[in-house]
Protein backbone atom coordinates (compact mmCIF):
# COMPACT_ATOMS: atom_id res chain seq x y z
CA UNK A 1 0.00 0.00 0.00
CA UNK A 2 1.39 3.41 -0.93
CA UNK A 3 1.94 6.11 1.57
CA UNK A 4 -0.49 8.49 -0.08
CA UNK A 5 -3.18 5.84 0.10
CA UNK A 6 -2.42 5.23 3.75
CA UNK A 7 -2.60 8.91 4.56
CA UNK A 8 -5.92 9.18 2.76
CA UNK A 9 -7.20 6.32 4.89
CA UNK A 10 -6.12 7.77 8.20
CA UNK A 11 -6.24 11.51 7.67
CA UNK A 12 -7.57 13.06 10.83
CA UNK A 13 -10.86 14.82 10.39
CA UNK A 14 -10.84 18.16 12.13
CA UNK A 15 -7.72 17.39 14.13
CA UNK A 16 -6.79 21.04 13.96
CA UNK A 17 -10.32 22.28 14.16
CA UNK A 18 -10.89 25.79 15.41
CA UNK A 19 -12.71 26.44 18.61
CA UNK A 20 -15.65 28.69 17.89
CA UNK A 21 -16.04 31.86 19.87
CA UNK A 22 -18.88 32.15 22.30
CA UNK A 23 -21.45 34.80 21.79
CA UNK A 24 -20.85 35.44 18.11
CA UNK A 25 -19.11 34.37 14.96
CA UNK A 26 -15.37 34.00 15.09
CA UNK A 27 -13.37 36.66 13.35
CA UNK A 28 -11.12 35.47 10.59
CA UNK A 29 -7.74 35.46 12.25
CA UNK A 30 -6.28 32.75 10.05
CA UNK A 31 -4.03 35.07 8.02
CA UNK A 32 -2.25 36.19 11.17
CA UNK A 33 0.97 34.57 12.29
CA UNK A 34 1.28 32.93 15.67
CA UNK A 35 3.31 35.84 16.90
CA UNK A 36 0.73 38.38 15.73
CA UNK A 37 -1.95 36.40 17.52
CA UNK A 38 0.16 36.33 20.66
CA UNK A 39 0.54 40.09 20.50
CA UNK A 40 -3.23 40.40 20.28
CA UNK A 41 -3.67 38.04 23.19
CA UNK A 42 -1.22 40.15 25.14
CA UNK A 43 -3.53 43.09 24.50
CA UNK A 44 -6.50 41.16 25.84
CA UNK A 45 -8.00 39.64 22.67
CA UNK A 46 -9.53 36.33 23.72
CA UNK A 47 -10.34 35.35 20.14
CA UNK A 48 -6.64 35.54 19.33
CA UNK A 49 -5.94 33.06 22.09
CA UNK A 50 -8.68 30.78 20.80
CA UNK A 51 -7.13 30.90 17.35
CA UNK A 52 -3.70 30.05 18.75
CA UNK A 53 -5.15 27.23 20.77
CA UNK A 54 -6.99 25.85 17.77
CA UNK A 55 -3.81 25.83 15.73
CA UNK A 56 -1.61 24.02 18.19
CA UNK A 57 -3.82 22.08 20.57
CA UNK A 58 -3.83 18.74 18.73
CA UNK A 59 -0.14 18.52 17.92
CA UNK A 60 0.91 19.65 21.39
CA UNK A 61 -1.48 17.17 22.96
CA UNK A 62 -0.10 14.30 20.90
CA UNK A 63 3.46 15.33 21.65
CA UNK A 64 2.84 15.35 25.39
CA UNK A 65 0.85 12.13 25.19
CA UNK A 66 3.71 10.31 23.54
CA UNK A 67 6.27 11.73 25.92
CA UNK A 68 4.34 10.85 29.06
CA UNK A 69 2.82 7.60 27.81
CA UNK A 70 -0.37 8.04 29.83
CA UNK A 71 -3.49 9.89 28.79
CA UNK A 72 -4.48 11.26 32.19
CA UNK A 73 -1.03 12.67 32.88
CA UNK A 74 -0.82 14.06 29.36
CA UNK A 75 -4.07 15.97 29.86
CA UNK A 76 -2.72 17.50 33.06
CA UNK A 77 0.56 18.57 31.51
CA UNK A 78 -1.29 19.86 28.46
CA UNK A 79 -3.44 22.14 30.62
CA UNK A 80 -0.42 23.30 32.59
CA UNK A 81 1.36 24.30 29.39
CA UNK A 82 -1.58 26.32 28.11
CA UNK A 83 -2.10 27.96 31.48
CA UNK A 84 1.54 28.95 31.26
CA UNK A 85 0.78 30.61 27.94
CA UNK A 86 -2.25 32.31 29.47
CA UNK A 87 -0.40 33.68 32.46
CA UNK A 88 2.68 34.85 30.58
CA UNK A 89 0.79 36.87 28.03
CA UNK A 90 2.01 40.18 29.41
CA UNK A 91 5.62 39.11 29.78
CA UNK A 92 5.88 37.34 26.44
CA UNK A 93 8.27 38.73 23.87
CA UNK A 94 9.01 37.27 20.44
CA UNK A 95 12.54 36.11 21.15
CA UNK A 96 11.71 32.81 19.47
CA UNK A 97 8.95 31.46 17.27
CA UNK A 98 5.77 30.89 19.24
CA UNK A 99 5.77 27.22 18.31
CA UNK A 100 9.31 26.73 19.62
CA UNK A 101 8.42 28.59 22.80
CA UNK A 102 5.30 26.48 23.27
CA UNK A 103 7.14 23.16 22.95
CA UNK A 104 9.92 24.45 25.19
CA UNK A 105 7.31 25.12 27.88
CA UNK A 106 6.04 21.58 27.42
CA UNK A 107 9.54 20.19 27.81
CA UNK A 108 10.04 22.12 31.01
CA UNK A 109 6.74 20.90 32.43
CA UNK A 110 7.63 17.33 31.55
CA UNK A 111 11.02 17.72 33.20
CA UNK A 112 9.40 19.25 36.30
CA UNK A 113 7.13 16.25 36.61
CA UNK A 114 10.03 13.89 36.37
CA UNK A 115 11.88 15.74 39.10
CA UNK A 116 8.86 15.67 41.36
CA UNK A 117 8.80 11.95 41.11
CA UNK A 118 12.44 11.87 42.08
CA UNK A 119 13.23 10.04 38.93
CA UNK A 120 15.79 10.75 36.37
CA UNK A 121 14.62 12.60 33.27
CA UNK A 122 15.71 9.82 30.99
CA UNK A 123 13.93 7.13 32.94
CA UNK A 124 10.61 8.91 32.67
CA UNK A 125 10.93 9.69 29.01
CA UNK A 126 12.05 6.16 28.26
CA UNK A 127 8.74 4.69 29.38
CA UNK A 128 7.02 2.92 26.54
CA UNK A 129 3.78 4.41 25.37
CA UNK A 130 0.72 2.77 26.83
CA UNK A 131 -1.19 1.04 24.08
CA UNK A 132 -4.50 2.07 25.62
CA UNK A 133 -3.65 5.72 25.11
CA UNK A 134 -3.31 5.23 21.38
CA UNK A 135 -6.57 5.88 19.67
CA UNK A 136 -6.71 5.19 15.99
CA UNK A 137 -9.63 6.60 14.04
CA UNK A 138 -12.20 4.37 12.47
CA UNK A 139 -11.25 4.01 8.86
CA UNK A 140 -13.69 4.85 6.12
CA UNK A 141 -12.00 2.57 3.63
CA UNK A 142 -14.46 0.26 1.96
CA UNK A 143 -11.87 -2.51 1.74
CA UNK A 144 -11.69 -4.14 5.17
CA UNK A 145 -8.32 -5.73 4.42
CA UNK A 146 -6.72 -2.42 3.52
CA UNK A 147 -8.30 -0.71 6.47
CA UNK A 148 -7.04 -3.38 8.80
CA UNK A 149 -3.57 -3.17 7.35
CA UNK A 150 -3.49 0.60 7.65
CA UNK A 151 -4.63 0.47 11.23
CA UNK A 152 -2.08 -2.19 12.11
CA UNK A 153 0.69 -0.29 10.38
CA UNK A 154 -0.15 2.87 12.24
CA UNK A 155 -0.26 0.98 15.50
CA UNK A 156 3.10 -0.60 14.73
CA UNK A 157 4.66 2.77 14.04
CA UNK A 158 3.34 4.29 17.24
CA UNK A 159 4.48 1.28 19.24
CA UNK A 160 7.94 1.48 17.70
CA UNK A 161 8.00 5.17 18.50
CA UNK A 162 7.11 4.45 22.10
CA UNK A 163 10.04 2.08 22.36
CA UNK A 164 12.57 4.63 21.13
CA UNK A 165 15.05 6.13 23.58
CA UNK A 166 13.64 9.28 25.12
CA UNK A 167 15.85 11.80 23.34
CA UNK A 168 15.32 10.18 19.95
CA UNK A 169 11.57 10.06 20.43
CA UNK A 170 11.56 13.66 21.54
CA UNK A 171 13.52 14.79 18.51
CA UNK A 172 11.35 12.78 16.14
CA UNK A 173 8.12 14.11 17.64
CA UNK A 174 9.24 17.72 17.67
CA UNK A 175 10.08 17.38 14.00
CA UNK A 176 7.18 15.23 12.80
CA UNK A 177 4.47 16.51 15.14
CA UNK A 178 5.61 19.98 16.01
CA UNK A 179 7.05 20.79 12.61
CA UNK A 180 10.13 22.31 14.20
CA UNK A 181 13.37 22.74 12.30
CA UNK A 182 16.67 21.40 13.58
CA UNK A 183 17.54 24.78 15.03
CA UNK A 184 14.16 25.09 16.70
CA UNK A 185 14.39 21.60 18.17
CA UNK A 186 17.83 22.47 19.49
CA UNK A 187 16.42 25.58 21.11
CA UNK A 188 13.40 23.80 22.57
CA UNK A 189 15.48 20.99 24.05
CA UNK A 190 18.62 22.88 25.00
CA UNK A 191 21.08 20.84 22.96
CA UNK A 192 23.16 21.54 19.90
CA UNK A 193 22.00 21.31 16.32
CA UNK A 194 24.32 18.42 15.49
CA UNK A 195 23.08 16.49 18.51
CA UNK A 196 19.52 16.91 17.30
CA UNK A 197 20.51 15.79 13.84
CA UNK A 198 22.19 12.71 15.23
CA UNK A 199 19.19 11.82 17.37
CA UNK A 200 16.88 12.20 14.42
CA UNK A 201 19.03 9.98 12.26
CA UNK A 202 19.11 7.23 14.85
CA UNK A 203 15.38 7.52 15.42
CA UNK A 204 14.61 7.23 11.72
CA UNK A 205 16.92 4.28 11.30
CA UNK A 206 15.35 2.42 14.18
CA UNK A 207 11.80 3.15 13.10
CA UNK A 208 12.51 2.02 9.56
CA UNK A 209 14.04 -1.16 10.89
CA UNK A 210 11.02 -1.84 13.06
CA UNK A 211 8.68 -1.35 10.13
CA UNK A 212 10.61 -3.61 7.77
CA UNK A 213 8.29 -6.45 8.66
CA UNK A 214 5.39 -4.53 7.15
CA UNK A 215 6.91 -4.10 3.74
Amino acid sequence: MGLARLIALQAPAGALGMVPARGGPMRDLSPLTDEALMFRWRDGDLDAFRALYGRHRARLHRYILRMTGALAEAEEVFQEVWMGVVRSRESWSPTAAFRTWLFAIANRRLADRSRKRARRFHEVFARPVDDESIVLPPSSDPDPAEATHAAELGRALLAALGALPAEQRQAFLLQAEGGLSLEEIAEATGVGRETVKSRLRYANQRLRRELEAWR
Binding site: M1, G2, L3, L6, I7, L9, Q10, A11, P12, A15, V19, G44, L46, F49, R50, Y53, R57, A58, H61, R62, L65, R66, E75, F78, Q79, W82, M83, V86, R87, E90, S133, V135, L136, P137, A145, H149, L153, G154, R155, L157, L158, L161, F172, Q175, A176, E177, S181, L182, K197, S198, R199, L200, R201, N204, L207, R208, L211, E212, W214, R215
Partner: protein
Protein backbone atom coordinates in the same frame (compact mmCIF):
# COMPACT_ATOMS: atom_id res chain seq x y z
CA UNK B 1 0.39 -6.12 -0.23
CA UNK B 2 3.40 -3.88 -0.34
CA UNK B 3 4.99 -2.29 2.64
CA UNK B 4 4.98 1.34 3.63
CA UNK B 5 7.13 3.81 1.81
CA UNK B 6 9.14 4.69 4.84
CA UNK B 7 12.59 4.05 3.50
CA UNK B 8 12.96 6.94 1.11
CA UNK B 9 15.94 9.23 0.98
CA UNK B 10 16.59 11.06 4.18
CA UNK B 11 17.02 14.80 4.03
CA UNK B 12 20.38 16.28 4.80
CA UNK B 13 18.99 17.67 8.04
CA UNK B 14 17.98 14.28 9.40
CA UNK B 15 14.33 14.50 8.44
CA UNK B 16 12.69 11.47 6.88
CA UNK B 17 9.59 12.82 5.13
CA UNK B 18 8.12 9.37 4.59
CA UNK B 19 8.25 8.42 8.24
CA UNK B 20 7.00 11.82 9.34
CA UNK B 21 4.04 11.59 6.98
CA UNK B 22 3.29 8.07 8.13
CA UNK B 23 3.37 9.23 11.71
CA UNK B 24 1.06 12.16 11.03
CA UNK B 25 -1.40 9.83 9.33
CA UNK B 26 -1.40 7.42 12.24
CA UNK B 27 -1.40 9.81 15.17
CA UNK B 28 -4.76 11.48 15.38
CA UNK B 29 -5.54 11.87 19.06
CA UNK B 30 -7.01 15.17 20.16
CA UNK B 31 -7.68 16.64 23.57
CA UNK B 32 -10.97 15.85 25.23
CA UNK B 33 -13.74 18.41 25.01
CA UNK B 34 -13.51 18.92 28.77
CA UNK B 35 -9.85 19.78 28.43
CA UNK B 36 -10.59 22.30 25.69
CA UNK B 37 -13.20 23.94 27.86
CA UNK B 38 -10.90 24.04 30.87
CA UNK B 39 -8.16 25.81 28.92
CA UNK B 40 -10.47 28.30 27.22
CA UNK B 41 -12.35 29.05 30.42
CA UNK B 42 -9.03 29.52 32.18
CA UNK B 43 -7.96 32.04 29.56
CA UNK B 44 -11.25 33.92 29.84
CA UNK B 45 -11.01 33.97 33.64
CA UNK B 46 -7.46 35.29 33.50
CA UNK B 47 -8.55 38.03 31.15
CA UNK B 48 -11.44 39.03 33.42
CA UNK B 49 -9.17 39.00 36.43
CA UNK B 50 -6.66 41.33 34.79
CA UNK B 51 -9.33 43.54 33.26
CA UNK B 52 -11.23 44.11 36.48
CA UNK B 53 -8.31 44.04 38.89
CA UNK B 54 -7.94 47.87 39.06
CA UNK B 55 -11.67 48.31 39.63
CA UNK B 56 -11.70 45.63 42.26
CA UNK B 57 -8.82 47.32 44.05
CA UNK B 58 -10.66 50.64 43.93
CA UNK B 59 -13.86 49.14 45.31
CA UNK B 60 -11.90 47.38 48.05
CA UNK B 61 -10.22 50.65 49.01
CA UNK B 62 -13.52 52.50 49.18
CA UNK B 63 -15.09 49.75 51.23
CA UNK B 64 -12.18 49.83 53.63
CA UNK B 65 -12.47 53.57 53.98
CA UNK B 66 -16.20 53.35 54.65
CA UNK B 67 -15.60 50.80 57.37
CA UNK B 68 -12.58 52.44 58.95
CA UNK B 69 -13.63 56.08 59.16
CA UNK B 70 -16.49 55.55 61.67
CA UNK B 71 -14.38 53.15 63.66
CA UNK B 72 -11.62 55.71 63.99
CA UNK B 73 -14.07 58.47 64.78
CA UNK B 74 -15.39 56.56 67.76
CA UNK B 75 -11.97 56.53 69.34
CA UNK B 76 -11.99 60.34 69.82
CA UNK B 77 -13.13 62.01 73.11
CA UNK B 78 -16.88 62.28 73.55
CA UNK B 79 -18.47 65.71 73.15
CA UNK B 80 -18.09 67.97 76.21
CA UNK B 81 -21.13 68.90 78.27
CA UNK B 82 -20.97 72.70 78.94
CA UNK B 83 -22.93 72.40 82.17
CA UNK B 84 -20.48 69.87 83.55
CA UNK B 85 -17.63 72.19 82.64
CA UNK B 86 -19.25 75.10 84.45
CA UNK B 87 -19.82 73.00 87.53
CA UNK B 88 -16.25 71.87 87.52
CA UNK B 89 -14.97 75.39 87.16
CA UNK B 90 -17.11 76.57 90.04
CA UNK B 91 -15.60 73.92 92.26
CA UNK B 92 -12.12 74.80 91.27
CA UNK B 93 -12.45 78.53 91.49
CA UNK B 94 -14.29 78.63 94.88
CA UNK B 95 -11.63 79.24 97.52
CA UNK B 96 -11.81 77.12 100.59
CA UNK B 97 -11.75 78.97 103.90
CA UNK B 98 -8.32 78.44 105.17
CA UNK B 99 -7.93 77.44 108.77
CA UNK B 100 -5.43 80.00 109.97
CA UNK B 101 -4.86 78.50 113.30
CA UNK B 102 -5.07 74.79 114.00
CA UNK B 103 -6.30 75.38 117.48
CA UNK B 104 -9.01 77.69 116.20
CA UNK B 105 -9.97 75.11 113.67
CA UNK B 106 -10.36 72.55 116.37
CA UNK B 107 -12.43 74.93 118.37
CA UNK B 108 -14.62 75.61 115.45
CA UNK B 109 -15.14 71.91 114.78
CA UNK B 110 -15.68 70.86 118.38
CA UNK B 111 -18.76 72.29 120.02
CA UNK B 112 -17.88 74.56 122.88
CA UNK B 113 -19.07 73.36 126.30
CA UNK B 114 -19.83 76.90 127.25
CA UNK B 115 -22.09 77.40 124.29
CA UNK B 116 -23.78 74.07 124.93
CA UNK B 117 -24.42 74.95 128.47
CA UNK B 118 -25.99 78.22 127.45
CA UNK B 119 -23.82 80.17 129.67
Amino acid sequence: MTGPETHGPEHHDGVDPGLAALYRAAAVETPRAETDMAVLNGAAAELRRRRYAPWMALVASLLLAVLLVPALSQRRAPPVDPAAVDQYLMQVQTPLAPAADPVEALLLEAPSPVVEAGL
